[in-house]
């Protein structure tokens, strides 16, 4: 097709046209391809192995001992823990919206504090508290009047119930974030209108608040269900002694044998993957009907709201259970000579701290964690920003590229970290890209795991920034790059810093995938903590857990400082 323009030039115009139109599109296609490869390559390769040889891997799955129970435990854990998480998370969000003025700022951030304590640490803390015989909490409870001389319990954390409750508590923070954001966006006026119509608080909650929160709750339920399905940490640490297994722990045990039966692992992971894709699809469909819930009201001018003092108490109890008690247990054990199983206060010692800090392997692991997390963020933030930018309505990008990027940003939710880790181990320990045993495989793992989160979080930031500022910049004569650096990025600073902080926390705590891809000498703190735990030196486990918490807090504070105040508590 040759269309001569008015000046007689050919349709491809001058170099300027190519530069302005074709190169950006080529850039988007490259981006989509790179991210697509990152995300799809491990999963597709791995699942291929499950079906090779006419699906013999599936036959091997069925031959595993007690596979039926394992499957059942996996599903029951997923369902019950997500139900618990949604219930607790929604309750917390509702309470946070009713906090009295004085405690409002702390109280709104408080339910996020458990995220600072890595899952491994929290579970270990809970082991110290609720081991049937020698858990400290159990021992104290047994001494209460009316407990009638029990020798064990009353609580046993090494049980399916224990795993469900711990997992539910661990996941509730995620639900809180989604639901609380939904509540804030909803504003106070609709509930005020209901009150003015004579509705009691209970009626308001069930007829107005909950239905309007449905999109947030549905989304949160989907995310948390998938997290529960792929849950690895709690079943691994709590299930072994009680002979409880789930699909992901079975996959992990495969990596400890040689040769690693990747096909079997892929077949084990297949149901999780299938369910994950299904849930993601259902979510997209269920939330497509968004118009019902377009909140038809301008933002309220008024900040005064109905407050209830007991809301703070509820949040306080939650913090106590999920954060304070386990941390106390960890500190106590880390400075006790050994886990003594008695309430007699021992002579405290710093021996375990010095032993850990002198252990070259452990200290190396800590540094590797920090290094790989930081490098991971350095890649994830720009990459995620580009992808988020590509998803904006106002960006000119060819439809297939945009759809591909949207897909690659969503797909990782469907794949639990442990399964992704297993796949990453598979593809990167053989040609063509053999980076197993180096820090590179850790960085690639982290980027693959988090690219979806990074994109979505920055997309929210970009959308919230308001297109008009970018447009004003362009109208003032600034080119794309100048607008980006002088207008868009500074305005998004807080959002980007919040994304970086959250990503740092998630990466530094990463346990499931790291445990799969690590090698004997490239360890991160999560995986090395598992080794120490399996090796039974619990006091050192406690020390490592506390180090994880401290480093996480420092990382979050740095991100907050870089982003300006309030970057952790995003204001709307």
């Amino acid at each position: 097709m040759t269309v001569a323009s008015a000046t007689g030039r050919a349709w491809w115009g001058t170099g300027g046209l190519v530069r302005r139109k074709a190169i950006p599109q080529a850039g988007w296609m490259v981006l989509a391809t790179v991210v697509g490869f990152l995300v799809l390559w491990p999963i597709l390769q791995l699942q291929w192995r499950a079906f090779v040889d006419g699906g013999s891997a599936f036959a091997r799955v069925l031959a595993l001992p007690r596979i039926g129970t394992t499957l059942q435990t996996t599903i029951v854990l997923a369902i019950l823990s997500s139900v618990l998480a949604v219930f607790i998370g929604t309750l917390l969000a509702w309470c946070a919206s009713m906090l009295p003025e004085r405690v409002r700022r702390i109280g709104e951030v408080a339910p996020l504090l458990p995220l600072v304590v890595p899952a491994v640490a929290a579970v270990t803390g809970w082991i110290f508290l609720l081991s049937p015989k020698v858990g400290y909490l159990n021992m104290i409870l047994r001494k209460l009047p009316g407990m009638g001389g029990m020798e064990e319990g009353p609580f046993n954390i090494y049980s399916v119930t224990g795993i469900i409750i711990i997992t539910g508590l661990l996941l509730s923070s995620f639900v809180y974030v989604f639901v609380f954001t939904g509540l804030k966006n909803m504003g106070q006026e609709l509930e005020a209108a209901a009150a003015a119509c004579g509705a009691s608080p209970a009626m308001r909650f069930f007829t107005i608040t909950l239905p309007l929160l449905r999109p947030s709750i549905i989304f949160a339920t989907g995310v948390v269900f998938l997290l529960g399905l792929g849950q690895f940490t709690a079943p691994l640490l709590l299930g072994r002694t009680a002979k409880i297994d789930v699909l992901t722990t079975e996959m992990f045990y495969l990596t400890e044998r040689y040769p690693i039966d990747f096909g079997l692992g892929a077949a084990l992971g297949f149901p999780i993957l299938a369910i994950g894709l299904l849930v993601v699809l259902v979510q997209k469909l269920a939330l497509g009907e968004q118009r019902r819930f377009v909140v038809v009201s301008a933002r309220s001018r008024y900040n005064v709201r109905e407050t209830r003092p007991w809301a703070a108490v509820v949040i306080g109890i939650y913090l106590l259970v999920t954060t304070v008690l386990p941390l106390l247990a960890l500190i106590y054990v880390s400075i006790s000579p050994f886990w003594s199983g008695s309430l007699v206060v021992p002579e405290f010692t710093l021996r375990h701290w010095t032993s850990v800090l002198k252990n070259v392997g452990l200290v190396d692991a800590i540094w590797t964690s920090v290094k790989t997390s930081v490098i991971g963020i350095a890649i994830l933030i720009p990459l995620g920003f580009l992808m988020a930018f590509a998803l904006l309505q106002s960006t000119r990008i060819i439809r297939p590229a945009r759809m591909a990027i949207d897909l690659f940003a969503t797909l990782p939710i469907a794949v639990p970290a442990s399964l992704m880790g297993f796949g990453l181990l598979f593809v990167y320990s053989q040609p063509p890209i053999q980076i197993y045993g180096t820090n590179a495989v850790l960085v690639v793992t982290y980027v693959t795991l988090m690219i979806g989160h990074s994109t979505r979080l920055q997309f929210t930031t970009l959308v919230g920034t308001g297109q008009e500022f970018l447009e004003a910049s362009r109208a003032s004569g600034a080119g794309a790059l100048r607008s980006l650096f002088y207008v868009l990025l500074p305005m998004c600073r807080k959002g980007i810093a919040a994304t970086a902080a959250l990503t740092f926390v998630l990466l530094f705590h990463e346990f499931s995938a790291s445990l799969m891809v690590r090698s004997a000498r490239t360890q991160v703190i999560g995986s090395v903590m598992y080794d120490v735990w399996a090796g039974g030196v619990y006091a050192e486990v406690a020390v490592l857990a506390l180090i994880m918490v401290v480093v996480t807090v420092i990382g979050v504070l740095i991100a907050g400082w870089l982003g300006g105040t309030d970057s952790v508590q995003r204001k709307d």
Binding site: E101, E189, L190, A192, A193, A194, A195, A196, C197, G198, A199, S200, P201, M203, R204, T207, I208, P211, L212, R214, R291, R292, F293, V294, V295, V296, S297, A298, S300, Y302, V304
Partner: protein, 367 residues
């Protein structure tokens, strides 16, 4: 019988002990009356309304609805909003997006435990009153602004509450709709006869809809009177300024009343017994422009000579003249007529002494 009685209500802004949102307000609303709270943003009118609704808590005072106290700071009584039997219309309509119009309007009846058939019937009834009966199955997202506001009104009226509270309901609508709905609202008030408090910053709405108007300033009521009286005789300079009475002459009594260097001439009876300095306010519509060389003004008129027209602005059927009187800028609004006055002309300003509002120390002098 008073539907509502507010006594010595005080509400302070949170975190500030000096800035008071509602400052010792006393007001009563009679049955069937529409009391308008009028004032600029920040004067406390909405806060007062929300205190009556129970959506905000005052620190001192008492609120009584139909003889029963719902709020009394001295004994710690604070009945929650949902038990006060009110109907409230919000500036942002606040229709619930996940419910149809029918269910929105039925909601207050549900909350009061009405039976299903009764609810349906009453909702239909009140939707007909606002002329939205054909919209029962729509979702709010599919309605126009005007429709939403009418349905919000219907929802508030449905349970026949003791008192209706309207918080700037027309502010979010465009000009034409506002006029239309204002008339509609007036008609409904006449027809249904509800008792209400209406908050607005728009004086036309206030005078159109209000039985009585309360002009508020920094948490206090400056003037509470019939709409007519507030319009004709604003009690303080603040009210006069708020009503847009732009012309202000500073008068002093040195050797006869003067405004600056200009002598005030004519029937000065209304200034008898008053000591300067005084502020005299006159509406632009009440001022006549006379050519200097023309005949003298009639009896009962006051006039000032030696003014000069600096600008002439046409706005459809009216002409606005900007006039300079010894350095003081005054405005005259006149019908477009045979008067051929142009910028630069020397003119005499005259107005009836009945149209002159004289303020001494900020308050209206004389009866």
């Amino acid at each position: 019988m008073q539907e509502l009685k507010v006594e010595k209500l005080v509400k302070r802004y949170p975190g500030s002990d000096r800035v008071v949102a509602v400052n010792q307000v006393d007001v009563e609303v009679e049955a069937g009356e529409m009391l308008v709270l009028l004032g600029p943003s920040g004067c406390g009118k909405t806060t007062l309304l929300r205190c009556v609704a129970g959506l905000e808590d005052a620190q001192e005072g008492r609120i009584t609805l139909e003889g029963k106290p719902v709020f009394d700071a001295s004994i710690g009584l604070n009945q929650p909003t949902h038990l006060r039997d009110i109907g409230m219309v919000f500036q942002n309509y606040s229709l619930w997006p996940h419910m149809t119009v029918q269910r929105n309007v039925e909601y207050p009846l549900r909350a009061r435990g009405a039976a299903s058939a009764e609810r349906t019937k009453r909702a239909r009834e009140v939707l007909d009153v606002v002329q939205c009966g054909h919209l029962t199955d729509r979702l709010p997202a599919m309605l126009s602004g005007g429709q939403q506001q009418r349905i919000a009104l219907a929802r508030a009226l449905a349970p026949r509450p003791k008192i209706m509270l309207l918080d700037e309901p027309l502010s979010n609508l465009d000009a034409l709709l506002r006029v239309e709905l204002r008339a509609h609202l007036r008609a409904i008030h006449r027809e249904v006869g509800f008792t209400g408090i209406y908050v607005t910053h728009d004086q036309i709405e206030a005078f159109n809809l209000g039985t009585r108007v309360a002009v508020m300033n920094a948490g206090r009521i400056e003037q509470l009177d019939s709409a007519n009286n507030v319009y004709e005789r604003p009690a303080t300079e603040y009210v006069a300024k708020f009503l847009g009475i732009r012309n202000c002459l500073a008068l002093d009594a040195q050797g006869g009343w003067h405004s600056g260097a200009t002598k005030l001439e004519g029937d000065l009876a209304l200034l008898d017994g008053l000591k300067g300095p005084l502020q005299m306010y006159v509406r632009p519509q009440s001022v006549n422009l006379l050519p200097t060389s023309g005949p003298a003004p009639d009896a009962g008129q006051l006039w000032l000579s030696g003014a000069r027209v600096t600008d002439v602005l046409y706005s459809g059927g009216e002409i606005d003249y900007v006039v300079d009187l010894g350095g003081n800028t005054l405005y005259v609004t006149a019908r477009a007529s045979a008067m051929r006055i142009q910028a630069g002309d020397a003119v005499t300003l005259s107005f009836s002494n009945a149209d002159a509002l004289v303020y001494a120390q900020g308050r209206l002098a004389g009866a």
